[in-house]
Amino acid sequence: MSAAALSHGQNNRWIGRIAIYGLLILFAILYLMPLFVMLVTSFKTMDEIQNGNMLSLPQAPTIDPWLKAWGETCVGLTCAGIKGYFWNSLKMVVPAVAISTILGALNGYVLTKWRFPGHTLVFGLMLFACFIPFQSVLLPMATILGSLGRLGVTLQDQVGLSFGLGNPTVNLVIVHVIYGLGFTTLFFRNYYEAFPNELVRAAQVDGASFFQIFRRIMLPNSLPIIVVTVIYQFTNIWNDFLFASAYAGSGESMPMTVALNNVVNTSTGVVEYNVNMAAAMIAAMPTLLVYIVAGRYFVRGLMAGAVKG
């Protein structure tokens, strides 16, 4: 090969590299753009937004929009900010994630280590539940939650304690546990399938019971899949809008997503875009934070959600 041909090849290689990096950087900018715009807008004054350029950095950065979004902005008719709704979401997410994860771990354990005839069918039926459009269960669930609410009122009158029945946050916890079970079971089943049976068998020979094996052998080895499941469920439940708007669509008990949608679509007075953007950032913060801290596990959960175990 002549020297000229060689340097020609080198040139081509360089052009190729530059094109690859150029394209990647271009796409990275496109993907970051909406977040960037949201972020800078949330630190601008309304004056600057109306007369300025959406891409420019704030000239006089102010955190007022954030404070207003957190503590003062109007959600529907109440003007006390979104902080209450943020806590609503948190109060709903924590128990829902905890319960569905524990149940999923137990289910996965039974479906891999204590198999019985028909275990594939049972798993298949639970798995299919992950994919149904929730519209097909929305109405019956509303009816049942309505009856539970009436039962709660009766209990309150008779016994003086409603056991949380009829409380929208409790309702949403129930709903998210039920419709999250398919996913959590899937995650743990696929993980435990690869877990050596010999260890379980050895423990059993030593006289360990069903729950002892679960607690002493399975759980201590489940940290990665617990992290994946918790992140997946946390993101899904925090971000849910359909159930939230159907069962807690108004009033004090709205979760964050519904409240945010109301803030943005409140049509009274001047639309304060900076406050809207700050509210959106606050709503996005928890899941974004989880993603930044544990991105690897987040991706793994999404992949596992694609069934490939």
Binding site: Y31, K113, M126, E193, V205, N239
Partner: protein
């Protein structure tokens, strides 16, 4: 993946006192039973309930007297009512446009980005999270961000005017014929990075020996990808397609947050149709019928997939 290929219990409970042994025997099933029962009642029972409601005359409140397939007949009639378009006609044509473009563009863009990322580039650790973070956001947040970004008076159009391109005009989000394409844009932005991650994992799983052999045989890079690598990625295409297709059919929040339904409901998808008819227009039977149609569409995609997956695993 599985080393267990039997349906026999892996563990045979130790023989002790009869009652204890019997209890130990069924304990696993007892533990699983509540979850399974919940699924049967709250998923399959509720689906049956919704299906039943779709054959009644329910309006604002459920009514349980069967009145035949009237709701389906109405939907069927609306399917062909294109001028002026019925809400159902709009919803299903939007579904076709959105589903086709969303799945198609996500797959193409995801594969393209994955191939770029697989060229032994530096800074992969920085780029990957940038492409993926939208997936962590709620559709409501995505909708709010893009609503602002695409607003003709505030966002992109205004910005380009500032930069001197005053003839630039982009008002799709306010245009009833184009609003569904803005949903496609925001949807692709949110999901394509995830598709990239799936393809990238697939690319990394390909045996490098195969590629070396092809290169020795004189295959160009283009040929290598067209003839060898992309065909090897078929399983990834399938999983990505399944995930995207079912996300597309379930899409609801994005339309609400981004377009509030669009001018005159022109951005509706069947999910929005169901919600509006059931909870706002007091046409519960019609809403239920549309939910059942959505379910059957998803089932047509998911059931064969799950069936083959589970069968493969059991083998």
């Amino acid at each position: 993946m599985s080393s267990v290929a039997t349906t026999e219990p892996i563990l045979t409970p130790a023989k002790s006192t009869p009652i204890r042994a019997r209890l130990q025997n069924v304990l696993p099933q007892i533990v699983l039973a509540p979850s399974f029962a919940i699924t049967v009642v709250f998923v399959y029972g509720f689906i049956a309930w919704t299906a039943y409601l779709s054959f009644t005359n329910s309006k604002t409140f459920p009514s349980y007297a069967l009145t035949g397939a009237r709701a389906y007949q109405r939907l069927w009639r609306w399917t062909f009512e294109s001028d002026p378009p019925s809400s159902w006609y709009t919803s299903i044509t939007n579904m076709a446009i959105f589903g086709f473009l969303y799945v198609g563009i996500c797959l193409a863009l995801g594969l393209f980005l994955a191939i770029l990322m697989d060229q032994k580039i530096r800074g992969e650790g920085v780029l990957r999270p940038i492409f993926l973070y939208p997936m962590a956001l709620s559709f409501i947040v995505t909708g709010v961000a893009w609503k602002w970004f695409l607003d003709p008076g505030l966002g992109l159009e205004q910005t380009l005017h500032h930069f001197g391109w005053t003839s630039f005009h982009f008002d799709w989000i306010k245009n009833k014929d184009y609003v569904i394409y803005t949903v496609v844009i925001a949807g692709v932005w949110q999901a394509s990075g995830f598709v990239m991650a799936m393809f990238l994992a697939g690319l990394r799983g390909i045996d490098s020996e195969i590629m070396k052999a092809a290169q020795i045989d004189g295959a160009t890079t283009g040929q290598l990808y067209r003839r060898i690598i992309i065909p090897l990625l078929r399983p990834v295409f399938l999983s990505a397609f399944i995930v995207l297709a079912h996300m597309a059919i379930k899409s609801y929040d994005l339309v609400v947050a981004l377009t509030s339904g669009g001018p005159g409901g022109s951005a509706w998808l069947p999910s929005n149709f169901m919600y509006e008819y059931t909870f706002k227009r007091n046409e519960m039977a019609v809403g239920s019928a549309s939910a059942i149609i959505m379910l059957m569409t998803i089932s047509a995609i998911i059931v064969p997939y799950l069936y083959s997956e589970l069968k493969e695993k059991a083998r």
